[in-house]
């Protein structure tokens, strides 16, 4: 009886060891699913490029599933899992329901966004990222550059990562110049591809006096950009645009003031390493100005002296002299906006 028990325990330990070893060795490919093509100079492109870079850095293959829209991606998730992807990165807040379902159904690890509570060891990781430190810098920049002493924030939805940037931008503006007014407008509950809505709302915000627009919008940000390019500020001058996540410089017509650029590569790399180390789904991931995974884009529209001042603020954030806390809740953001818009 004792021998049988010894054999059983040994077999159990041995199989556990073999399984964990096999699990680590099995990370051969990852897949990323994006709602729009990875060529949008924004969220989708940064995700796709980061997935490629992380895969290259860790020696795994990457499967790209782009332009899937905002509907049901369960069939695609199943297909990618059947193709043998060891990790499915569901790169849209709209996939937060379907991806965990498929993870549980097929026992394949998934990474989702904007759902920190969903962490499940070995199965579900969340990467609710925030470029709030960069957005704070953008706010400081905007407050220095505005002529009309009014800036606008236009967003196509209120996911946590955008909320934190909206709030940080507002805080940056107020820290730089409390006299500057801030206008906040959401195009729609999930108007990520509503370019016409982006243009319409941005034109109204410009008409309310804003001469700098901080825009967060995926596809709809092209409508915001179009509004900035075709509408004059109330003082008759040029309106500038501050983008987020990507770098639209290659398609800029001289209206891009800056962008809060994200590099998600360290996050995906850490995820793959966590998979290999069997620690996937046990922690959250972050980006920030310290390692340049969040940085403010320098464009010719920013005078050198202003840029130097903004960089000094960045150094203060890195050193801890200035603390920028993320605010993820939409209600908290709106309260902040109400206060600053008065």
């Amino acid at each position: 009886m004792l021998n049988k028990l010894k054999y059983s325990v040994s077999a159990l330990l041995l199989s556990s060891f073999m399984l964990s070893g096999a699990y680590a060795a099995d990370v051969k490919s990852i897949a990323i699913l994006t709602p729009e093509e990875g060529t949008d100079y924004g969220w989708n492109q940064q995700g796709v490029e980061a997935a490629k870079a992380a895969a290259k850095a860790t020696g795994v293959e990457v499967i790209l599933a782009q332009g899937l829209g905002y509907g049901d991606v369960r069939p695609t998730l199943r297909e990618l899992a059947e193709e043998g992807a060891s990790l499915l990165i569901a790169h849209a807040s709209g996939y937060n329901t379907s991806a965990p379902e498929i993870a549980k159904e097929l026992n394949v690890p998934v990474a989702i966004v904007d759902t920190p509570d969903a962490l499940t060891k070995g199965l579900i990781a969340d990467y609710t990222l925030s470029g709030h430190e960069g957005a704070y810098l953008a706010g400081r920049l905007a407050a220095k550059m505005t002529r009309t002493k009014a800036v606008g924030i236009v967003v196509s939805g209120e996911p946590p990562s955008w909320n934190s940037q909206s709030a940080a931008f507002a805080e940056g503006v107020k820290a730089e110049n409390p006299e500057v007014k801030i206008t906040y407008a959401v195009i729609g509950p999930a108007a990520y591809s509503d370019a016409a809505g982006g243009k319409r709302v941005t034109e109204s915000v410009i008409a309310s006096g804003a001469d700098i627009i901080f825009g967060q919008g995926n596809g709809s940000s092209f409508g915001m950009l179009q509004a900035v390019e075709t509408t004059k500020a109330t003082d008759g001058g040029k309106v500038y645009f501050i983008d987020v996540i990507g770098n639209k410089s290659p398609i800029d017509k001289g209206f891009l003031l800056s962008s809060v650029v994200w590099d998600i590569t360290p996050v995906y790399t850490a995820m793959i390493n966590d998979l290999k180390a069997d620690t996937f789904g046990t922690k959250s991931y972050a980006i920030g100005v310290k390692d340049d995974s969040v940085k403010l884009l320098k464009t010719p529209a920013i005078p050198d002296n202003v840029w130097s001042e903004v960089q000094a603020v960045r150094d203060d954030i890195v050193s801890g002299k200035i603390k920028v806390e993320p605010i993820f809740e939409a209600t908290a953001v709106r309260k902040l906006m109400t206060n600053v818009a008065e």
Partner: protein, 311 residues
Amino acid sequence: MTGLFDEVFLAALLFGAVTAAVPLLLAGLGEQMSEKAGVLNIGIEGMMILGAYLGFLGAYYSGSLWLGFLAGALGGMAVAAVMALLCVRLGLNQIVIGIALTLGLEGLTALLHHFQFSRSYPRLPAADKTAIPLLADIPVLGPALFQHHLVVYFAVALVFVMIYIYRRTQLGLNLQAAGDKPAALDVAGIDVIRTRTIAVLTTGALAGLGGAYLANVGAGIFIPFITNGAGFLGIVLAMLARGRPLWVLFGALLFGVCLSLTTAMQVAGINMPTDIIQMLPFLAVMIMLVLFGRKASLPAALGMPYERGAR
């Protein structure tokens, strides 16, 4: 900072309301004609997205917005021709075909955009506006309502053309009969299939034009999924308006005004969840049209394919 009741801001809000309403108006008028003839045209979103894509393509390469609008309308008609073939001629399920067309064309246009424009994202210059003499000089209302692209005036005029057609012409009677009692129309010697085909093709042209307006004037750019459900809103407007073109105009304008109102409320800093604020356009349109449009009824043969002699 400009005040909320500043002339420039109010004019911008109202101008935006009209711009947002026009694609819905065109789509709604088109859908209304299909429904009158008994065809539930769920594929209108697909017609709009192809119209938006081809409209942008035409305007971008020719440099003429008018050629863009023409291309958009023809694109919408091409989709409608497929719909007419499958649903009117062959009698396939209108809902299934409509959804399939929409999904397929969303994917197709996204793919084409990817190959052509996904690295350059070209934008069109601001559309020319035509000011209506005297009216355009009225404070706030002038720049908001009477300084638009000619397509806007065309869309509004179309409402009255539709009213005339439905009330005063043989075609209007034929359309009504094709939707209510197609067998009776057939007995009277009028080709039901032909009548319904005309209705569906007209729907395609109007939806395509609406899509082209959305891309060329509303956004100044084409991006995948740009219609963002505008076609489905057109269906809702047409169904709630129940055969009355003026109610489609009213519903579309109400929707546009409410959209602008949501922006105004946010700009004013009203501390209310934006989800609630943004329900306003949908709620307002539904309430108004249900209250005032409930007496009218939908065609009896709506959604049913016509087959001569079938019982």
